[in-house]
Every structure is written in C-alpha cells, then in structure tokens.
Subunit: 264 residues, 2 copies
C-alpha cells in the first residue's frame, strides 16, 4: 500500500477514533488473533503502530472488541482482544442489486452501499449493462474497507453476478419472500414518497438499480408484471447509477429502514 | 484531455442520447455560437464529431437547444442552434453547504450535488474541517460537467468558501429567509422522516453537511440555539461526508423537494 494512501486511511479512521480491522478469526478475551501479512504490514509499516496500540476488531459474529497490538515482530503481529465494546448486530435486511458500472464508479457504489446499510450486494446483468465482468476480489476488498471505516459490525455479503432473467426466474422461490423496489422512468413522477410509504410492513426489500441506459422494454414489462415489485420515480433529473444507489438507499432507509425509530 | 477520458465521457453521454454542452453565449435559432478552443478540441479531436453532428446546448438562460456542429476548421468550430428542445427552468432552490473534503471525494461531492438538484453549492469551514483551501476552478469545472451529463438546464451556482461563523453571522439578513437543515449526532435518532415532514412549507432550505470529525460543541450549540435550524439524524451508521451529502439531499428532495408531485 502506498504511504500516502495509508496516511489518508489513517486520517479517515480518526473520524471513528481508533483503527478498526475486520478479521476472520474468533474474538474472545485473552485469545490472540494472528494477523495476516498484509494487515500486519498495514498496521506496523503504514500506520506505524507500536506494541500495545489500541485497535478495534470485528468478525461479523462476535461483536466489536477492543484489542491491543501484540507480539510485534518485523513483519508479523497479533491482536490481543481485551473486552467487547459492542455486541454483535446484523446488518439491515436490505439488498442492493445493481447493474455493474465501470471500475471507479463501481468502487464508490460498493463502498457507499455498505455505508448506507445494505446487507447484501449483488451485481445484476441487464440488456443494457455495459460492463461484462466485475472483479469480485476488488469488490470484496472495498466492502471490507467500508465496513472497517464506517463502524459496521459485519461486512456486507457479496453475491456472484447473475442475469436479471435468472434472478427473476428464481426470485419467488426464496424465503423470506422479498419485494423488489426498482428505479424506473415508468414510475409515476413525484410519487416516490407515497410509493415507499405504501410499502410499509411489506418487507424485506431488495433495491434494484438498473444500468445507465435504463431497463429494456421486455425487462420493464417483466418487472411490472410481477406482484412483488414496485417502480420508484426518483425525481426529474438523470442520476448516474452510483448516485442513484446512494439516493435510493437513503429514501428506503428513511421511510422503511433504520433511519426510523420504533414509532416509524 | 486524455483520449481514454474522452471516450469514457462520450460513453457516459450515451445515457442521455446526444452530446450536451454548456455555453455562455446566447442561444437563438440560426445564430452561430463560436466554441472556445477547449470545447472545439473536445468535440473535434476527442469525440471526433463531424460537420452537422447534433449537439444539445444550454446556457442557464435560454433553455436547451438542438444545434449542429458548424464551420468546422482544424481547431475551431461553431454550434448552429436550430430549435429549442426544452424551455428554461430554474434549479431547485436547495443549497448545499458543506465542510470541504479532500480532492477526490470533493469532486464526487460536487458532481453528485448537481445530480441531486442543489441550486447553490458552498464550502463552509468549520473547526474540524481538515482542508484549508478548495480549488474553485476545479469545482466549477466539475459542476459544468455534471450539469452537461445529467441533463440540467443550468449550472449550479458555486459560492466562495466562508467560515461557519461568518455564514451564521450574516444568515438572518438574507431574503428569502432560509432554514438550515444540518446533519448531526445531537438529533434524536430515528426521527429524520418526522423532522423533514415537520419542515413542510417552511422552505426554502439549505442543507449543511459538517466535517468528518463532526461539529465542535460551540458550533452545535450555536446552530441549535437558532430558530431557523433543524438537526437531522441520518441513521445509525457513520457516513463519509460525500455519502452524507447525497443521502441527505435525497431525503430532502423526497420529502420537501421535487421528488414529490403537486400533491406532495
């Protein structure tokens, strides 16, 4: 990792206080977690942390733990969990399905989906999708980094790309049943808030962001013909797909998700 | 401009159909508009457009015009306006005030503010703002590009950076009076939708996005003490400032802005 990138990441971590790290090992008091080589390098050489430095760790199962950097060697170190700082919670049960876009915007889209609380992220290929393949490793790395920086207790789940056709073929078979909210010009303009309010109690949801060229007519027809979908109109302007993902997730979280309190 | 960047911009324009260009000159049928050297280079050498190519132009005053590329020389060309395709409309009267962030995120923040319909964009320096200066030319270039790509009829107005202190000193003196919606941890969690609904009819609004470190206690106190502000709680997760800008604008547009129809 470049030094400047590490410093920027370190500065970014200041917003959340301590360095946060996603690990795969179990977290329990007094049981050291051996760090992988890349993570050790990052903490020791990029962040320049020393023995005893406080680090928050999470693994998606055991909550968040305050740990100290331990057993520091030249290229290796451990985390020693001391106490749990936050109990494990799941991510919101909102899925983000999206027609993939090109690299830089894809990075942004994935990171921001994590910040906005999407629990599952899945690329969906549509007729007008202009990206043939996605680099799954890169997406997963982006999800981990976003989860670390934004205080998540779990890394959102990444699902392998699927065509819209196959996705819809199998959609009714899943449990629990899940409604698809999809952004589309066919939706009545100016109706987004009313549509979302009408979805209260009908969750869980998946949000489907189409490609920049929009859905093909047969795709739109197929979506509209189902009884488990709802077309949303997100305003009169054209949004880039990565903007639409954040904006749509915000609207959903505001009306249907965890931006609401118990009375919501 | 790099060739690959131009091709990507050309591909991005496909989503909106034709090439769209912001010009400063008046637009009237049959009155040629001489292109600046950079724009001529972009159209002729990067997009490789030929004489007669259709181009949409707007200037923030005369609406959007379908033009043809004319008087093509080696390094110069004109646009010949043929007919108006869209009548002039103003941008939504929502201001985005934001503590500036570092370059790459700032670019995104500005572009997305335009996509989300902010009419005025202004950097605001707070105590924990960790960026001393912004490159105004770069911001303005980003606003123009976003306006071109997203079908806006006007380029959002960029205002010079100001300290939060000075901004608030002069805030009550403006006409029309404008309420400040600011994202802050002090707001009651789970109340965003109710807070926004409570603001109906009280506009116009300015949305204030604080720095990644949050507002300083005295800044928060000053904002909360005013009778023209409202603190919003945007969910339980930490959002990066550029994410928060899009998410907050989405929430505002959904409940108070032009994502609503007349009945809204």
């Amino acid at each position: 990792m470049e030094k400047s990138e590490g410093i920027e990441r370190a500065a970014e971590r200041c917003a959340t206080g301590k360095t946060r790290l996603y690990v795969t090992a179990d977290l329990a008091a007094g049981v050291p977690v051996q760090l992988g080589r890349d993570q050790a390098h990052y903490l020791l050489n990029v962040l320049r942390l020393k023995e005893g430095a406080p680090i928050l760790a999470f693994n998606g199962r055991d909550g968040e733990w305050l740990c100290t950097l331990s057993e520091v060697r030249k290229k290796a170190a451990s985390l020693l969990p001391e106490r749990m700082t936050r109990a494990q919670e799941g991510l919101p049960d909102i899925w983000l399905l999206f027609a993939p876009v090109k690299k830089a915007r894809l990075d942004y889209m994935v990171q921001k989906a994590a910040e906005m609380g999407a629990g599952v992220i899945q690329p969906v290929m549509t007729r007008f999708t202009n990206v043939a393949r996605v680099k799954e490793e890169r997406i997963e790395a982006n999800l981990i980094e976003a989860a670390e920086q934004c205080g998540l207790l779990t890394v959102p789940e990444f699902r392998e790309p699927q065509s819209l056709e196959k996705l819809l073929d199998g959609w009714s078979g899943q449990t629990p049943a899940r409604r698809i909210l999809f952004c589309d010009e066919s939706a009545p303009p100016g109706s987004a808030l009313a549509q979302l309010e009408g979805e209260r109690g009908k969750g869980p949801f998946a949000l489907l962001i189409g490609p920049e060229g929009g859905f093909a007519p047969e795709e739109r027809e197929r979506l509209l013909a189902r009884d488990d979908t709802c077309a949303l109109s997100l305003g009169p302007r054209i949004m880039r797909a990565d903007t639409a993902a954040v904006a749509a997730l915000a609207a959903v979280q505001l009306v249907l998700g965890d931006w609401r309190g118990d009375d919501g």
